[in-house]
Symmetry: C2
Subunit: 310 residues, 2 copies
């Protein structure tokens, strides 16, 4: 069975005030060969170029909330896609006021996009499905922040059931697609062979959860259960817990607690306040609770391999 | 007499599509010790940091027009100034729709700026004064572009007249300020000494003209006469004259013609289309008409020294 990509690139790991070589938030999640952009801080188009991403291939942009460090790169990207001759529809999913923000700017510049820009308003309601295609289902997470803010849970679509090699001679070619989808084999004489005999268990769908920006929100744990990769903001260390509470951000300890309690398989920290020159303290605070916590880095790639069920 | 700065930093020299290491347009003009920001493309705050500019000192931002490559960095800069605790008023001068663009975004992010942001709408009327303070007068230039677009002429205020050293004993201390301003000296016995005897000619006020984006606009020449520094866009080479006309941009030859016909003392080309890997061709085309033409570079500093009148 061909390897199918499920891969995250963190394009920016900074918080509201850009500094110390950290860029504002943007991430590129590639599911199979399809790239989905999550948030789009100022300069995202430049970061996409820096990692060699072909952004004309991006079909969807998901914006979590309307603080500038999560969306101010959107107009520039929309405009560059236009100038580069894009014709494919672009879907922008985001908080309702984003539509006016885009429209007022297109109007002021008298830009008539060569492609269709379809806006899909998002309300922060946990569990609501925001998007589904043949590769992925995107479910919303209601984050706790100063303004309406949605996290995103990307779940890979169920893979087809691989046929057992030794059974191949038994299965007529024209039946194979249906057997891969789980049907039993009914022969012309009426005899039935159970699907489980003919196929392997497919790898379980991989899941990625994006939680930024948010205060500690344990009500989300049920959605995050055993998620393959959890990106959770960790703006502050525990020492600034009060500041985290006021600004509705998380400490590294809170991010790690979420990962531990969800049984997440991997935790990636990000959205670091510009006051931290180094992320060492944030990381060690998280690792005390979730030993394998990792710090996201600008332009780094995090691949989630397919897990085999035996 | 102390040296007074009149200095331009070109922060970005690219056109609409960022590429080839060129950033979108932004310039920092320092007159004496006061920095004025001209245009503010995406990423300007990062470019300001890269050249070590303290952007909390910027009191004025002038936006020429509402194509994204000239203003999409404004919201990020406004937001960073806020987060850094700015209290000083910021004046933003720009096309009227910019006010709504700023307000809709402040509203969406529920940002209540800690400082006063004063918006000054600009209409593209050549010769109209947009701003005056003790250092500088800013006059508008109506550029020819697809949407309303204003250039800016920055003229240094007239310097005080330096006192002649040999005359110092003749001038009572309390009279000096007035003599520097050009008054004659009236002694207590009624005798008069002409100001010209007591003072030197001050250096002539320096002038900087910013012309981007624009088609060839010879009607501006009277405003640009013997300007000390002319920045003129040169998006295309002559080979693409038709494209220049359609998009209302200038060729390098047109920029040079403007500089030559205005008798500009120095010409700086910029706003290069991303199709040009190298600017060599643009430069040589301009130099055939205006031999000292220069190509602006990212982050480069162009100082205009005081000229002495003898």
């Amino acid at each position: 069975m061909a390897h199918r990509r499920f891969e995250l690139i963190t394009l920016g790991t900074g918080a509201a005030l850009p500094a110390r070589g950290r860029y504002p938030t943007a991430q590129l999640l590639t599911v199979h060969e399809e790239p989905y952009l999550i948030d789009c801080g100022e300069g995202t188009q430049e970061r996409l170029r820096a990692v060699g991403a072909n952004f004309s291939r991006i079909g969807h942009i998901f914006i979590s909330h309307l603080h500038g460090d999560h969306y101010l790169g959107l107009m520039g990207l929309i405009s560059s896609m236009h100038l580069m001759g894009r014709t494919r529809t672009l879907l922008v999913h985001g908080p309702p006021p984003l539509q006016e923000i885009i429209e007022v700017q297109l109007r002021a510049s008298r830009t008539f996009l060569r492609y269709q820009l379809e806006f899909r308003p998002l309300e922060p309601v946990s569990g609501r499905m925001a998007w589904q295609d043949e590769r992925v289902t995107v479910t919303l997470l209601a984050l706790r922040h100063r303004i309406p803010c949605t996290g995103f849970l990307f779940e890979e679509s169920q893979a087809l059931r691989p046929l057992r090699k030794d059974c191949l001679p038994l299965i007529p070619t024209h039946m194979r697609a249906r057997i891969k989808e789980g049907e039993d084999l009914v022969q012309s004489d009426g005899s039935v062979t159970a699907n489980a005999v003919l196929t392997h268990e497919p790898p379980p769908p991989r899941r990625y959860a994006y939680c930024s920006d948010t205060a500690y929100a344990p009500e989300l744990l049920s959605y995050l259960k055993e998620v393959d990769l959890l990106y959770h903001e960790a703006t502050f260390t525990r020492q600034l817990a009060r500041r985290a509470k006021e600004t509705m951000h998380s400490t590294a300890a809170e991010a790690a607690t979420m990962a531990r309690d969800a049984g997440a398989r991997r935790l990636l920290l990000g959205h670091f306040s510009s006051r931290y020159k180094s992320t060492d303290e944030l990381l060690s605070e998280a690792q005390a609770i979730y030993p394998d916590a990792e710090v996201s880095e600008e332009g780094a790639v995090y691949s989630i391999n397919e897990r085999t069920i035996v």
